[in-house]
């Protein structure tokens, strides 16, 4: 009976010993995979956009300022720009607003706003209360442009290069850190931004 315990300890039976450990090893590997999946699951809410690296979808929508010229994708050519999809109903947009004002003050890129699923009255109110970081704001009350841009949650922001190509997309709030690390770094890596054109036009 003594022998029964030996196979596991006896030297020279390494192959046999490994066979016992194989299921355990597989189980451990499975645990690691599941654990990594669990820890990283919040990131799965952010779906990578297939539009990054592609030309920005074209649009032409009414200006938030009544009587203003329509806001169109033509404004995205020849210089870097930031397209920000927002709405006065969006709480995270309120958090993000101070960063947008800071970006406006730095003057690196003009910000084009797309006011999504909103009313002009509410949007105007919001900009009067919190300040207006946008060069121009277009109205997208029924989400047509937003769908064409693959938007599914506000705020979403797109960095557009002078060729009109989407270089980066941020889903959620832009913080000063994210602005520096994800947006400014890309502009600088491409040789920096030319001075944006004067407001209005």
């Amino acid at each position: 009976m003594n022998q029964q315990a030996t196979p596991l300890q006896e030297p020279g039976t390494g192959g046999v010993r490994w066979r016992f450990l194989l299921p355990l090893g597989l189980f451990a590997a499975l645990l690691v995979v599941l654990f990594v999946g669990l820890v990283h699951s919040p990131e799965k809410n952010i779906i990578p956009s297939p539009l990054v690296g592609k030309a920005a979808p074209q649009f032409s929508i009414p200006n938030l300022v009544s009587g203003g010229t329509p806001v169109s994708s033509a404004a995205l050519r020849g210089h870097w720009s930031l397209v920000n999809v927002w709405g006065s109903w969006c709480a995270t947009c309120r958090d993000e607003h101070s960063t947008l004002l800071m970006i406006k003050q730095q003057g690196t890129v003009p910000i084009i706003g797309i006011d999504w699923n909103d009313t002009p009255a509410n949007a105007t109110n919001w900009l009067q209360q919190l300040g207006d970081p946008y060069q121009q704001v277009g109205e997208d009350p029924n989400g047509r442009v937003a769908i064409d841009w693959g938007v599914y949650a506000a705020p979403e922001s797109f960095l557009i290069n002078p060729q009109g190509v989407i270089v980066y997309k941020e889903v959620g709030e832009i913080t000063p850190d994210i602005w520096r690390e994800q947006f400014l770094s890309r502009i600088n890596a491409a040789g920096g931004a030319a001075p944006p054109p004067a407001t209005g036009g």
Binding site: Q4, T13, I47, P48, L51, N117
Partner: protein, 159 residues
Amino acid sequence: MHSPRRSHLRALAGAALLIGLVWVGRALAVDATPPLPTPQLQQRYLALTHELRCMQCQDESLADSQVDLAGQMRSEVHDLLLRGMTDQQVKDYLVSRYGEFILFKPPMNWRNAWLWGAPILLMLVGFLAGWRIIVGRRRLVDDDPDEPLDDTVDEHWQS
């Protein structure tokens, strides 16, 4: 006094009314998009909205979701079908905007090969392992049918 027969009828009518109301309510609750002009188009619309994911709620289809975005995407599908797009063109358009994630059923292509192939592969491995174990056991028993099982296994380990 009601006759038993009448009260039966009444209960039946009540139940029918209730079921009818629930059914109508369900139909109205989610999809407010106007129906397409032909039954064929409407059929395709229904099939498509069930195959596409609501990007906001993610575990619901466009057809089932009540959020604004799903409603707007339903009318987008509606309009694209009216414009004469094929089902594949509608899907391709939305995939080009939102990625393959919007399809509940991932397409069979080389990039997704592991996804479709892994279950078959794992099943084969399982069968193979099971077969080897069964054959191995039978051979042991065949070799020395008189020997008690414990010792047989023990000897096998030591060899």
